[in-house]
């Protein structure tokens, strides 16, 4: 009896996610603090490159700032947020504690220490490699070692997610894994596959090269390995956003999820299609043949399918909620939605930004059209819309929803949250739409200044001014976010359970292929061998121009 009571208490505690509160909060706050630093650097960058403030001009400082901004946003904010989100969502959806909690904390500290180690060369201008791992740009070894520790730290999270799914399935034979954890586990598995590329590059090429153990480096192989990671990382970032849209948003707005199975199919497709498509980042590189690039282009368009499924399912869930709230007509349900709810506003704005960003992505992915925008500011605009817009705005929504529940307090101000989200949306558009235009006008990306007396460059001025305004709006918005969440820690107590959306047709059991990843791992392995096998092997088989394996 005593055992049963203890077990019930543990289940109740897990339902509130108490077991994951500390590690969830630690991850969230690390992510948010580093994000704010990155936003400040972003404001400096748009001011510096505009040429309007001569006192600020310094290529050395600019490229150190760009590299730090990119690493903090693309690797630090994302990794820590995804880990915090995953832990809290896992304990509250599976209603079980995190197994091996010390293991999870070890991963957190490894990632944090790695971040701090990488920060030293970044902030001292010794890792101004534009947050990429593209040799011959070379950084201090501490940057590569720190970044590797961050990635290895995230693997502990991946193992925890897989471990929890296996443990839950053992305790619930035949039952459907809750969609929220199915998505998080898909992301964890994808991240493990994804990081093989950059991990191999760092371990066998960059770290030995930066330490002077290797004298030369095979740039083509390095870029190919980095491309393995480079696109799938975007889906690693996007997964929590999609999970929030599928499993939290419909509940918050008083509706139901249109289809649980559609979510599973979308997550599996993201898992399978996102890794073997990285050559669309190498369209202009001479190291790979056009045929391989075409194969990857085909895969790139395939990965649009899960996004289309997500768009349909999420908007259909919104429509259901809107109609349940009294909305009539073809579009009357849109006005009936609770737009004063931060999660609802974020979802609507995120989907709009996804539309803009998705259009840019189609242009980038088209082999011929890519030549028009390659290495221009258009590309910067595109990934800021997808990452800084679609993805991060949903991170904000998840933080507004989860953090008050973690600490048992009311959100300090829901209206401030909605204002902050709208400001972020406006700021992101003001920042990135001019970048698309300026890219088509020929401005290269990754420049710290330009000859502003040139007639061509004069056309850029209006866009340069606009992006400063966008950067400042984003800075104000991020300050509001931090303030609101900080004040929530001292807000009035309010116990709210962390609940997830029910589908219209609950399915206690789903087909095995939609409830397990074993088969899909085999599919990924085959697909990866088909799309990356020879392109990588050729560097070992064809020792062109006297180059030898791994650049030795």
């Amino acid at each position: 009896m005593a055992t049963t009571t203890a077990s019930m208490q543990e289940n109740l505690s897990s339902a509130r996610g108490q077991n994951s509160v500390n590690i969830g909060l630690a991850n969230f706050w690390v992510a948010l603090v580093f994000m704010t630093v990155a936003v400040i650097l972003g404001v400096y960058q748009v001011a510096e490159r505009s040429g309007f403030f001569p006192a600020l001009e310094s290529p050395t400082l600019y490229f150190a700032s760009v590299s730090t901004h990119g690493v903090l946003m693309g690797f630090v904010l994302t990794t820590f947020f995804i880990m915090g989100f995953g832990y809290y969502a896992a304990t509250t959806s599976l209603k079980m504690p995190i197994p091996g909690k010390g293991f999870a904390w070890f991963g957190f500290w490894l990632a944090l220490i790695g971040t701090l180690i990488a920060a030293v060369p970044l902030l001292t201008g010794n890792a101004s490699v534009l947050y990429t791992m593209y040799p011959p740009l070379a950084a201090h070894p501490a940057f590569y070692i720190g970044a590797t520790m961050l990635v290895v730290g995230s693997w502990f999270w991946c193992i925890e997610m897989i471990w929890m799914m296996a443990k839950w399935k053992k305790a619930h034979p035949g039952e459907a894994v809750p969609l929220v954890h199915f998505g998080n586990t898909a992301n964890a598995i994808m991240w493990l596959w994804t990081t093989i590329g950059v991990g191999s590059e760092a371990l066998f090429q960059l770290i030995p090269w930066s330490l002077g153990i290797l004298e030369t480096i095979d740039v083509g192989l390095a870029r190919t390995l980095f491309s393995w990671t480079l696109h799938a990382i975007v889906y690693f970032w996007l997964f929590p956003a999609y999970i929030t849209l599928y499993t939290i948003m419909p509940k918050v707005i008083g509706g139901k999820l249109f289809s649980d199975e559609m979510g599973r199919i979308a997550f599996i497709m993201l898992l399978v299609f996102s890794v073997p498509i990285g050559f669309h980042h190498l369209y202009m590189d001479p190291f790979q043949e056009a045929g391989w690039k075409f194969v990857h282009m085909f895969g790139t368009f395939m990965v649009a399918l899960p996004t289309l499924f997500t768009g349909f399912t999420v908007i259909a869930s919104m429509e259901i909620a809107g109609r349940l709230r009294g909305g009539k007509g073809l579009f009357g349900w849109i006005g009936a939605l609770p737009w004063k709810e931060p999660v609802m506003s974020a979802a609507g704005l995120s989907m709009l930004l996804l539309t803009f960003g998705g259009f840019g992505g189609m242009i980038n992915a088209s082999y011929s059209l890519n030549t028009m925008v390659h290495n221009t500011q258009w590309v910067t605009g595109h990934f800021h819309l997808i990452f800084g817009g679609t993805t991060v705005i949903m991170y904000f929504a998840a933080a507004y929803h989860m953090l008050p529940r973690m600490i048992g307090r009311k959100l300090h101000s829901a209206s401030m949250a909605v204002t902050q989200l709208w400001l972020w949306f406006i700021g992101m558009l003001v920042l990135t739409l001019p970048w698309h235009a300026i890219g088509l006008l020929g401005q290269p990306r990754r420049i710290s200044s330009a000859p502003y007396d040139d007639p061509l460059v004069e056309q850029w001025n209006i866009h340069e001014a606009s992006m400063i305004v966008g950067g400042v709006i984003l800075f104000i918005s991020s300050c509001m976010l931090l303030w609101n969440l900080y004040k929530t820690h001292s807000a009035s107590p309010e116990e709210q359970a962390m609940e997830y959306a029910e589908p219209i047709h609950p399915a206690p059991r789903v087909p095995h292929l939609l409830n397990s990843f074993a088969f899909w791992n085999v599919v990924i392995a085959i697909y990866l061998i088909a799309s990356y096998g020879y392109p990588i092997a050729q560097f070992f088989l064809n020792q062109t121009f006297g180059a030898t394996t791994w650049g030795v």
Partner: protein
Amino acid sequence: MGELNPDEEKKILESAPKGTMTLLIIFGIAMLLGWMYMYFGMFLTHGPVN
């Protein structure tokens, strides 16, 4: 939401999301037109690099 009776709620839950499908068709057509403008209007007319 509270004013709906169970039959009305069931009808909404089981109805096809016509508004969603219309929105997606509009966005799909806009994307296609945008891509065609970029390809035929900007890329093909661009000419050689000077």
